[in-house]
Amino acid sequence: MTIESRAAPPLAAQRILTTIALVLAILGGLGTVAIMAMINLDVIGRGAFSTPLPATAEIVSASIVSIVFLQLPYATASGRAVRSDMVIGRIMARSPRAALLMDAMNHLVGTIMLAVLLRYIWPEIESAIADRETVGLYGVFTLPRWPFVLAVLAGCIMTCVVYAMLTISLFRMAFQPERHT
């Protein structure tokens, strides 16, 4: 978390990407509020009127992945991914350039892994949309699945882009010594 705060002044592209990530995160946050509301309606409906909200469990289950992927780009951009920055912090004190390069490499691996993930979930998402898959209980209450998988796709793409953006900016900082003194 200490590394990102030393970042060079952001470029316009970086600001725009962070704003997109923020919008996705807010959508994810609203998704969390929506499942909270559904669960409460379900609990109250069941307890007070013996009529539970149909397909609550199924829709909540399907939403979790979407919510997480919507929130992932911004969490990554704000340096909130779980990590141990103790060693890198010590190297930073001795040689900022070495620490920045090390961190850039770490983010590069992040970019690559998200790209690999994207490559392999793409066909699954495509078929989910093409086959008009649904979420919920068949015959009781269903929603189309495409908004859920599209959210996953958007989050996955943006997380990959954010990792790439951080990689580039860390490499830039590493090779511009006057920027991080």
Binding site: I64, Q71, S78, A81, S84, I121
Partner: protein
């Protein structure tokens, strides 16, 4: 390389990558992908593992507990309930020697019952309790130590993100784990309080002497008013789970709504604040859940390499017996706790140890409580002690160094070791409510 060697190498590589500062989830993903490709010789199988873990592993109703309890915790934090609790506890224990230290433990224990992370407890009470403790004459070292030590209650007393994580990884009922955490949490809080009483009497050089009892007493009616929202939330969430009215996911949803109403009632929620709460919730949820997705990939790789079976055979050949294996396991956790964060320890160790201990027919809920206490010691031990780091970053006082925080927390870490022994000798502490 044989498959088992790939499995062993994967553990070593992950430990190294995490130390280089690589995001833990990315390290787990990368190693799992490469490992599966090495074992199976096909990229497509590695890819299938990734996509399946990403799309399906968390698509379960029980995973709703994560965003919901995180949301509840963030809302509780925003409502200023931590300060209210600390005020009330300070009043309750003001006549004791070391009273404000005990009050910090007590307030933390109650706060833990409406909040799921030790990190939140540590950051709230650093701001609320540390300045007041120092003002009353306690040493800075003891003041931060009390906050660090008692913050571990946040993860032991339900709701708790670590218990949720354990429940998911070990496929144990999260509701049962929540019920099991209550008594050990209370006992640990009592042990902490007794230790503070004793230290204040016999080691006042360490604790400092409280000499200024100048805080105005709070009227009973105000104390009731201040504690009412917390008590209501605890009754709603834990009462709901314990009484069998709610599943943990439902309790999370109801608790989050309750916390929202409390925050609203206390006038803490402007639009800007609501935005901040949603973002904060999202950041914690995303980082934890992404970690679980990655852990899912990794446990599949380990299963493919056959390492867990080999471990089981190896340990069986050593004839350690259950106690020997447990002691070894707990020692490894405490050791790893010095260099890894709590979640990573669970993610790496559980897929290896569960196949080993399951044949002994042990109760996995009890095993979970023992594991969590051991993992939490790692929050307090240098060089990587996350709770101490959080306190340092929330502290507005440059005179208190990281080493002071570790030193202050040391007595509490030792008490936690004793607590592990207690839960091992008296398993009913964890199993009484189930």
């Amino acid at each position: 390389m044989s498959n088992i060697e790939i499995g062993l190498a994967s553990i070593a590589v992950i430990l190294v990558l995490i130390q280089t500062g690589m995001h833990v989830a990315i390290a787990l993903m990368a190693v799992s992908f490469v490992g599966v490709v090495l074992v199976k010789g096909k990229f497509a199988i590695g890819g299938a593992l990734l996509s399946q873990a990403a799309l399906d592993s968390v698509a379960r109703y029980s995973f709703g507990v994560i965003p919901l309890f995180v949301l509840m915790g963030v809302l509780v934090g925003a409502s200023g309930l931590g300060r209210d609790l600390f005020d009330v506890a300070g009043q309750l224990f003001r006549r004791f020697r070391g009273g404000l230290g005990i009050a910090t433990v007590f307030a933390n224990a109650i706060f833990a019952a409406v909040n799921g992370t030790s990190i939140a407890s540590a950051s709230v009470f650093t701001k609320v309790a540390v300045p007041e403790l120092i003002r009353q004459g306690y040493t800075p070292r003891f003041s931060v130590g009390v906050v660090a030590g008692s913050s571990v209650l946040g993860m032991l007393i339900p709701p708790s993100l670590l218990l949720i994580l354990y429940g998911i990884l070990a496929e144990v009922s999260i509701g049962d784990l929540f019920k099991a955490g209550i008594l050990p949490g209370i006992v640990l809080a009592v042990l902490f309080s007794v230790a503070i009483l004793l230290m204040a009497r016999f080691a006042s050089g360490f604790t400092g002497v409280s000499n200024r009892l100048d805080t105005a007493p709070i009227a009973t009616s105000e104390m009731l008013l201040k504690s009412a929202p917390v008590v209501a939330l605890i009754l709603l969430v834990l009462g709901g789970i314990y009484g069998g009215f709610f599943t943990p996911t439902e309790a999370g949803g109801v608790g989050a709504l309750g916390a929202f109403l409390v925050a609203q009632f206390k006038g803490r929620l402007g639009w800007r604040e609501i935005g901040r709460i949603l973002i904060e919730t999202g950041q914690v949820t995303a980082s934890i859940t992404f970690l679980i997705i990655a852990a899912h990939m990794y446990s599949r790789l380990l299963a493919l390499t056959g390492l867990p079976n080999a471990m089981t055979d190896l340990l069986a050949s050593w004839n350690l017996g259950l106690t020997g294996i447990l002691v070894l396991y707990l020692a490894v956790i405490i050791l790893l706790g010095t260099i890894l964060d709590s979640a990573s320890i669970l993610l790496i160790l559980l897929p290896l140890i569960l196949p080993v201990v399951e044949p002994f027919g042990i109760n996995l809920v009890w095993f979970g409580i023992v594991t969590i206490i051991a993992v939490e010691i790692g929050l307090l031990t240098p060089p990587l002690g996350v709770a101490c780091f959080v306190i340092k970053s929330n502290l507005d006082d440059d005179r208190i160094g990281l080493s002071d925080i570790f030193a202050g927390a040391a007595p509490f870490a030792l008490i936690m070791v004793a607590m592990i022994a207690i839960v091992m000798i008296a398993p009913w502490l964890a199993l009484a409510f189930i």
